[in-house]
C-alpha cells in the first residue's frame, strides 16, 4: 500500500466519512514542541503501487495535533492547533480563503477534536487547559465549556448513538462521561493509575468504551459496571497514545503507542493481541479505521510517514 511522507512529524490521521479513499493528516514540526503545523488532505491512489495524491494542504503557525472531518459536509474539517485554536477548513474553497474560521478560546494546546456523529451539527474539543468545549459551525464562540478535569484533557469523543453523550480522557487519570444536558459530568471512572491519553466508544455497544494510558495498557470498560474493566489489553511496551474501535466489528480495536507499534486487538478473546505492526520508526501517535472500507487502517507517527493498509497485510508491502 502507498506511503506518504509528510514534511513535519505526524500527529493524527482520519479517514473521511464521505469518500473511501480520502484522509486528513495532522502534522507538527519538531515533534510538536515548537514550530509550524500542517494539515494534509490525501487521496489513496486507484492502484496501490502509485503514490498518494495530495489534494490540499493547509499550513498553521503552530503544530496541528488533531483533525476531524465534518459529519455533515464532505469538504469541511476542523483542526486542533497547539496554539489553542480550532481552525475550520473548507476544501471546496481556494487555499487563500482558508481557514474559514479560527475559534480561539482554549488557553492551551488543543489535543483532540471530534465531530458529533449523531447530530452532525456540533463538535467538541479537548485541551491542555483542562477543559472540553462544545462548538457549532455557526457560532463564533463555544456553546459550553466543561471544566472538571484537573489536568490536560487528551481526548473527548462523542458516543456513537447518543447525541448528547461524550467521554473524555485526561491526565488526571480519570475517564469522565458527560451528558451535554447535565451541568456536570455524569460519571467519573478512575480508569488507570496513570495518565489516560485516549478513549473511544464501541460502535456496537453504546456502554462499552476503551481507554489507553501511559501505563502501557488499553482497558475496555462497560460503564454500567465501571469498577472493573471488561478487559485489560497488555502488549504495548510504552505509553499507548491512541485507541480506536472498529466500525465493522464489535470486538476489534486498534491502538498505537510510544513503543512505535500499531496493535490490533480482539478484546473478547483470550490472546487479545491479534496483530502488531512495527512499520513506524518513531513514536506511532495517530491511527484510524475506515468507516467505509472494512479493515482499512491508517497510521502516522513522528517518522513523518503515513501508512494505509488492509488489516492482515503488511503496511510496508508495495
Amino acid at each position: 500500500m502507498p506511503v506518504f511522507k509528510t514534511p513535519f512529524n505526524g500527529y493524527s490521521v482520519k479517514f473521511s466519512p464521505f469518500y473511501e479513499s480520502r484522509l486528513a493528516v495532522a502534522t507538527a514540526q519538531n515533534f510538536g514542541i515548537l514550530g509550524n503545523g500542517r494539515v494534509h488532505i490525501l487521496d489513496l491512489p486507484p492502484t496501490p503501487s502509485s503514490p498518494f495524491v495530495e489534494l490540499a494542504s493547509f499550513e498553521t503557525a503552530d503544530g496541528v495535533y488533531d483533525v476531524a472531518w465534518s459529519e455533515s459536509h464532505d469538504s469541511l474539517l476542523v483542526a486542533a492547533v497547539a496554539d489553542g485554536s480550532l481552525k475550520i477548513y473548507d476544501l471546496s474553497l481556494p487555499p487563500t480563503s482558508n481557514p474559514i474560521r479560527s475559534l480561539h478560546e482554549h488557553s492551551r494546546e488543543v489535543q483532540s477534536v471530534d465531530y458529533n456523529p449523531v447530530r452532525r451539527d456540533s463538535f467538541i474539543s479537548s485541551s491542555w487547559d483542562d477543559s472540553i468545549k462544545l462548538w457549532t459551525l455557526d457560532r463564533p464562540t463555544s456553546i459550553r465549556s466543561f471544566q472538571e478535569h484537573a489536568y490536560c484533557v487528551y481526548a473527548a469523543v462523542w458516543n456513537p448513538r447518543h447525541a448528547d453523550v461524550f467521554a473524555s480522557a485526561s491526565g488526571d487519570c480519570t475517564l469522565r462521561v458527560w451528558d451535554v444536558r447535565e451541568p456536570g459530568s455524569t460519571m467519573v471512572v478512575a480508569a488507570h493509575e496513570f495518565e489516560i491519553l485516549s478513549c473511544d466508544w464501541n460502535k456496537y455497544d453504546d456502554c462499552v468504551i476503551a481507554t489507553a494510558s501511559v501505563d502501557k495498557s488499553v482497558r475496555v470498560w462497560d460503564i454500567r459496571t465501571y469498577r472493573t474493566p471488561l478487559a485489560v489489553l497488555n502488549g504495548h511496551g510504552y505509553a499507548v497514545r491512541k485507541v480506536k474501535f472498529s466500525p465493522h466489528n464489535r470486538s476489534f480495536l486498534v491502538s498505537c503507542s510510544y513503543d512505535m507499534t500499531v496493535c490490533a486487538w480482539d478484546y473478547m478473546v483470550e490472546d487479545a493481541r491479534i496483530g502488531q505492526y512495527g512499520h513506524h520508526t518513531e513514536f506511532a501517535v495517530g491511527v484510524d479505521m475506515s468507516v467505509l472500507v472494512e479493515g482499512l487502517i491508517a497510521s502516522t507517527g513522528w517518522d513523518e510517514l503515513v501508512y494505509v493498509w488492509q488489516y492482515g497485510t503488511d503496511p510496508r508491502a508495495p
Binding site: G35, H73, R120, S145, Y204
Partner: protein, 734 residues
C-alpha cells in the same frame, strides 16, 4: 412514559426542529415543560442545516455514504442499544431540563449564506520561518546525525537561537507534558529533573514553569468558588441564556452546592488532598526550578541510561529519544557554530567528553564523576577569566561565585520561612549540604589533584615490613587496611615504585580514584617504565576520557614492553594519533594473540573511541586467557554498561565479586548497573554494601543519594546525607 422520559429519549435520538427558536431562557423553559412532548415526534432523519452556502452539492453527492454510515452508528432501535445512557439524564433534579432546552436550542437558526465571511476577521497568523526557527530546527535534528560518528557535541548558549518568550513557554510546557508520557515509569523527581535540565540547557527560566505542567489544581478550586458565588464566567456564550440558567440552577442548589458537588467527585477529603497535592506540586516545581544543573544533569544521565536500556534497536535509533536525552543533557550543537568552537577550544572538547562520560560511562569512567561538575565550573570560570568580561549569562550562571550567592540566597529564604513547612526545610537543608559537598569536592580537586593525601592516624607507621604486610592485606581483600600499610611503606621508602603502584591499585579497587591516580603518578616518577603502572595510568586517563594522556601512557606501555618495543618507533611519540596507536596494538595482538595484556590495552583503547562492541570483544578474548582476573571482569562489566548492556554487565560484575568479594568498585558498579535499568531499590542495596566496605567512596554516596531519590525513598535521604551507614544497612540489607 412520563414527560421527562419522553424528553430525554427524544433528545437522545433526534435533533429538534427549529420551531422553538428561542434564546430566551423562559421560553426555553416553557418549551421544555409544555412543548417537549411534541419534540420527540419530530424527524428522526437528521436535518443538517449547516450548509455554508446552499449552492454546494454536498448532500446529493454524499447521501449514499451517509446511508452507509448510519448503518452501524445511528440506529436507535437496534437491540443492543441500551437504556443506560439515556438513564443518565433524568436522574437529577428538576431544573436540569433547562439545560436540555438550551442544548436543544443551539441548533437553529440556519446560518446565513454569507457565513463564510462573517468570522473571517482573523488574519492569517504569520508562519514562523525566521532564522531562529531554522536554527532551532537544525539544532534539534543535527545532533542525531553527529552522535553516531562520535563527533563532539558543543553546549550552545541559546541566546544564539533568539527564542521568544512564547517559544520558550511552548518548549517548557510541551516538553514537560510529553516527558510525563514517555518517562512514565520514572518518579516525579526524575521527570522534573529531566525537564529542568532541558530547560537549563535551553536557557529557559524554570520559574515560569509554575504555569506549566500542572496548571489546573488551584484553578479548579477557584472555579468552584466562582460558581458558588454565582459569578458569571466570561467565555460562555450568553446568547442562549444557557449560562444564566446554569447559574440560576446553581443558586437554587444553594451556596453549598459547589462544595457538595466537589465532595461527590473527590470524596470527603478531596479538597484537602487536592490542596495537599498542589502544595506538593509547588514544592516539586520549586525544586525543579532551583536545583542546580549539577544535580539535574547527574539525574538525567541515569535517565538517558534507562532510556537507552531498551534493547529494541528501533528505540536506539529513535531521533526523538535521542533528541530528548541530548537536549536534557545540554548536548546541543549547531553545525555551523564556528564562533563557539574557536572561542572554546579546550572547553568545548572537554564539555562534550564530559557530557559523554556523564551520560554513558558511570561505571567505566566513574573516576572523576563527583568532581566532574566542578571541573566544568572551573573550566568555564577560567574561560571567562581568559576572555575577559564575557557578558554571557550562561557562563556566569555556572561560575563559582554565582553558585555561592545563590546558595546563600536560598538559605536566607529558607531562614525567613518563605518556603513554609518543615518538609521544605529538610529538603533545603539537604540541598544546602549537597551544595557544600560539591563546593568542598571542587576545592579538594583544585588543591589536591595529583597530590597524594596520607591518612592521619596510621598504625602501620613503624611496622618492620609494611610492604609485605600491605601485599598480604591486599591479597586478603582488606583494602582499607592495605592502603594504610602501603602508605606506611611509601612514607618509609618514597621511591618504591611497587609500593606506590599497589597503593594506587588498592585505591582504585576501593573506588577512590583521586588517590589512585596520585599514587600511580608517584609510582611512575619512581619507575617510568613499569608496565603495570603505565597501563593503570592509561586506564585512569581513559576513564577521564583524556585521550591524549591515555594514548601517551598506553603507547609508553608498548614502547617499554620487551616484546613489542620494536613496533613503536620513537618519532611517533611526539605526535600520537589514536589510529596509529590502535594499529600498533592490533599488530601486537597479531604478533602474540595469547598475550592477554595486549587485548586488555586494546579494550581500553576502544573505550577511548567508544567502540564498545570491539572493546567487549577484546576484553572477552583477554578473559579467555585470564579468566581469574577480577579487575578484567570489572572492565568488561563497565564496558558493557557503557554500551547499554547493563544486564550483561551485572553478570560480569558478579564474576568479579565471586573472585574478589571485597572489590568495592565492583559492588558500586553493580549498583550503577541496576540503577541504569531502573531497579533503584536493588541499586541502593549494592551502594550501601560498597559504602559499608569503604565509607570514603564519595562517588558511591552520590549515586546512593540519586537512587534514593529515584526510588522515592526520601525518608532515607537524611541518613544518606549524614552518612549514617547503620541506618542504611538496616534498611537495605543485601
Amino acid at each position: 412514559m412520563d414527560m421527562r422520559d419522553l424528553v430525554t429519549g427524544g433528545a437522545a435520538c433526534a435533533v429538534p426542529g427549529s420551531s422553538s427558536s428561542s434564546s430566551n431562557p423562559l421560553a426555553a423553559l416553557a418549551n421544555t415543560l409544555i412543548g417537549s412532548s411534541s419534540k420527540i415526534q419530530e424527524n428522526k432523519e437528521i436535518p443538517t442545516s449547516i450548509t455554508p452556502g446552499s449552492e454546494r452539492q454536498i448532500y446529493t453527492q454524499t447521501n449514499d455514504h451517509l446511508g452507509a454510515l448510519d448503518q452501524p452508528f445511528v440506529d436507535p432501535n437496534a437491540p443492543q442499544h441500551s437504556d443506560f445512557l439515556r438513564g443518565f439524564h433524568g436522574s437529577g433534579g428538576g431544573g436540569q431540563t433547562e439545560l436540555d432546552a438550551a442544548w436543544n436550542d443551539i441548533h437553529p437558526p440556519p446560518p446565513p449564506p454569507q457565513l463564510d465571511h462573517i468570522y473571517d476577521t482573523h488574519p492569517q497568523q504569520p508562519i514562523l520561518d525566521g532564522p531562529p526557527q531554522r536554527m532551532l530546527s537544525s539544532l534539534l535534528h543535527s545532533f542525531v546525525d553527529s552522535s553516531r560518528g562520535g563527533v563532539p557535541f558543543r553546549a550552545t548558549p541559546l541566546p544564539v537561537l533568539g527564542l521568544s518568550e512564547g517559544d520558550k513557554q511552548c518548549i517548557r510546557d510541551r516538553s514537560s507534558i510529553m516527558a510525563r508520557h514517555i518517562f512514565a515509569d520514572k518518579s516525579e523527581d526524575f521527570i522534573n529533573a529531566q525537564v529542568n535540565a532541558l530547560l537549563c540547557s535551553l536557557d529557559i527560566d524554570g520559574d515560569a514553569r509554575a504555569k506549566g505542567p500542572l496548571p489546573g489544581r488551584f484553578r479548579e478550586l477557584e472555579d468552584y468558588w466562582n460558581e458558588s458565588q454565582g459569578t458569571l464566567k466570561p467565555g460562555f456564550h450568553a446568547a442562549d441564556g444557557w449560562v444564566a440558567e446554569f447559574n440560576q440552577q446553581r443558586m437554587v442548589h444553594g451556596a453549598n452546592g459547589w462544595a457538595s458537588e466537589f465532595e461527590q467527585q473527590h470524596g470527603a477529603n478531596g479538597w484537602a488532598s487536592e490542596f495537599e497535592q498542589s502544595q506538593l506540586t509547588s514544592v516539586d516545581q520549586m525544586r525543579g526550578s532551583n536545583i542546580s544543573s549539577l544535580a539535574a544533569m547527574e539525574q538525567t544521565r541515569m535517565l538517558a541510561n534507562t532510556l537507552a536500556q531498551n534493547d529494541d534497536p528501533k528505540f536506539q535509533n529513535s531521533k526523538f529519544l535521542q533528541f530528548v536525552s541530548k537536549m536534557s543533557r545540554g548536548e546541543l550543537i549547531i553545525d555551523d557554530n564556528q564562533v563557539k568552537q574557536t572561542a572554546l577550544p579546550a572547553a568545548g572538547d572537554w564539555a562534550s567528553e564530559y557530557q559523554h562520560q556523564y551520560n554513558r560511562s558511570p561505571a567505566w569512567a566513574d573516576e572523576f564523576l563527583s568532581h566532574g561538575p566542578d571541573q566544568w565550573v572551573n573550566e568555564f570560570t577560567t574561560e571567562r577569566e581568559q576572555h575577559g568580561p564575557v557578558d554571557d549569562q550562561w557562563v556566569s550562571e555556572f561560575s563559582k561565585l554565582h553558585v555561592h550567592d545563590w546558595a546563600d540566597e536560598f538559605g536566607r529564604q529558607v531562614g525567613e520561612g518563605a518556603l513554609g513547612e518543615n518538609s521544605t526545610d529538610n529538603w533545603a537543608n539537604a540541598y544546602d549540604e549537597f551544595l557544600n559537598e560539591q563546593v568542598a569536592a571542587r576545592q579538594r580537586s583544585d588543591t589536591s589533584r595529583g597530590v597524594y593525601v596520607f591518612s592521619d592516624m596510621n598504625p602501620y607507621v613503624g611496622h618492620p615490613n609494611p610492604l609485605k604486610e600491605g601485599q598480604e592485606l591486599f591479597r586478603k581483600g582488606l583494602l582499607s587496611e592495605a592502603v594504610l600499610a602501603l602508605e606506611a611503606e611509601v612514607l618509609k621508602n618514597p621511591d618504591n615504585a611497587e609500593g606506590w603502584r599497589l597503593l594506587g591499585i588498592a585505591h582504585a579497587e576501593n573506588d577512590d580514584d583521586q588517590q589512585a591516580i596520585a599514587a600511580m603518578l608517584r609510582a611512575q616518577e619512581a619507575d617510568s617504565t613499569n608496565l603495570e603502572v603505565l597501563l593503570a595510568l592509561g586506564v585512569s586517563h581513559t576513564n577521564e576520557l583524556e585521550q591524549a594522556a591515555a594514548l601517551k601512557y598506553l603507547y609508553g606501555w608498548l614502547r617499554h614492553h620487551p616484546k613489542y618495543g620494536s613496533l613503536a618507533s620513537p618519532e611517533l611519540s611526539d605526535s600520537l594519533y589514536y589510529a596509529d596507536v590502535a594499529r600498533l596494538f592490533n599488530e601486537a595482538a597479531q604478533m602474540s594473540p595469547d598475550d592477554a595484556d595486549v587485548h586488555i590495552v586494546l579494550g581500553v583503547l576502544y573505550n577511548l573511541t567508544r567502540e564498545y562492541d570491539k572493546a567487549i570483544e577484546s576484553f572477552q578474548t583477554a578473559l579467555k586467557l585470564k579468566p581469574h582476573d577480577y579487575s578484567l571482569w570489572n572492565k568488561l562489566g563497565a564496558t558493557q554498561a557503557n554500551s547499554v548492556h547493563s544486564a550483561d554487565a551485572i553478570f560480569a560484575y558478579q564474576q568479579a565479586l565471586d573472585l574478589k568479594p571485597n572489590y568495592v568498585r565492583a559492588w558500586a558498579n553493580m549498583g550503577i548497573s541496576y540503577a541504569n535499568q531502573g531497579m533503584y531499590e536493588d541499586s541502593i542495596r549494592y551502594y550501601v554494601r560498597a559504602l559499608a566496605m569503604n565509607p570514603k567512596a564519595d562517588n558511591a554516596w552520590q549515586y546512593l543519594r540519586i537512587s534514593l531519590s529515584c526510588a522515592s525513598r526520601d525518608d532515607m535521604l537524611e541518613a544518606c546525607d549524614s552518612r549514617n551507614l547503620d541506618v542504611l544497612q538496616k534498611e537495605f540489607p543485601l
